[in-house]
């Protein structure tokens, strides 16, 4: 299916958020996630099913003021 990952389309085979993150190279990364604007905590990634066209945001620590 096609996801909108951080604003750009990505083809993935995985069915859940956990699978998609692993496939996209985020394994072992310290990141937080949201699907369609809602926060998805780490403990719920494996049970969070993804659908065609879902907007997935993956963020990491960054400099800030």
């Amino acid at each position: 299916m096609t996801l909108l990952l951080n604003g750009a389309p990505h083809e993935i085979a995985g069915k859940t958020l956990a699978e998609a993150l692993s496939e996209l190279g985020y394994a072992d990364r310290i990141v937080a996630t949201a699907v369609n604007g809602d926060f998805v905590p780490v403990r719920r990634r494996a049970e969070t099913a993804l659908n065609e066209g879902d907007r997935v945001e993956v963020v990491a620590p960054m400099q800030g003021g």
Binding site: N6, I30, T33, F39, V59, A60, P61, M62, Q63, G65
Partner: protein, 257 residues
């Protein structure tokens, strides 16, 4: 020293981590400033690069507390979701809550700010709201659960100092028991000293240090100014007056006319 949700820093400088010439200079500036808290943020990360992981490693090595922000959020929903993500990534209930209402001045949307502050406080967050010097808004934020208030000095990154010293002074007088931090708009150490002389409990700044010609030296200059301002406040400054008052005693002066 004031207590920020139970944390009592010796040095009440909250230092931002953005816009430094290099990570090494950032690290050196934090050390030289003596800051015990730094602000951090969240941004999109691709699977390949890992820039955020390196930054987070650097901050953890510094051994300081982090205050994540919701910079760039324009709606309650965005700010709340960002705060939730920050809590998980940074492992802290602290959140510097920004809900921006207007892009020219980056002025807080105080209506959205109050709503987001209530949602987050109810969810166990310890909220540091970036607000204006408006006393009524400040009261609503306290009602919403905020135990710290962070009024702006001037628009973010402007370096203009305290645009409304009267407003900041009245806010201080009105909320004698709430820790107050001037957040944003500070350009010079003298601005920070001025805020501390008014009885403020801390200063949050970023650009004034990060974009200085020598950020490390400027970090130390701010630390000194904040300490001087606090000492001056505790020493109870004299009231300003319109006319001169001779400091040298007049009595006993020789009559030589």
């Amino acid at each position: 020293m004031a207590s920020f949700y139970g944390f009592e820093p010796t040095n009440p400088l909250f230092l931002g981590t953005a816009r430094y010439p290099s990570p090494a200079i950032l690290a050196e500036a934090v050390k030289r400033s003596g800051a015990e808290v730094v602000t951090v943020s969240l941004r999109r990360e691709s699977g390949g690069e890992g820039a955020g992981q390196a930054f987070w490693g650097l901050i953890r090595e510094l051994g300081v507390k982090v205050l994540p922000n919701t910079a760039g959020c324009h709606t309650v929903k965005e700010a709340v979701t960002t705060a939730q993500m920050a809590r998980e990534v940074f492992g802290t209930d602290w959140i510097k809550l920004e809900v921006i209402g207007e892009d020219d001045t980056l002025q807080p949307d105080v209506v959205g700010l109050i709503e987001a502050a209530r949602i987050l406080s109810d969810d166990g967050f310890q909220v540091f709201p970036y607000t204006t010097e408006d006393i009524v808004v400040a009261g609503r934020l306290v009602d919403a659960g905020c135990e710290v208030l962070m009024p702006w000095g001037a628009p973010i990154g402007s370096g203009r100092g305290l645009n409304n010293p009267y407003g900041l002074r009245t806010l201080r007088r009105h909320f004698p028991g709430i820790p107050l931090v001037v957040d944003a708009g500070i350009g010079l150490p003298s601005h920070a000293a001025q805020a501390m002389e008014l009885g403020y409990d801390g200063i949050l700044l970023n650009t004034a240090v990060a974009r200085a010609g020598d950020p490390v030296a400027m970090a130390e200059a701010f630390a000194l100014a904040i300490r001087a301002g606090r000492l001056a406040f505790e020493a109870q400054p004299i009231e300003a007056r319109d006319m001169a008052a001779p400091s040298t005693p007049v009595m006993g002066k020789a009559f030589l006319a």
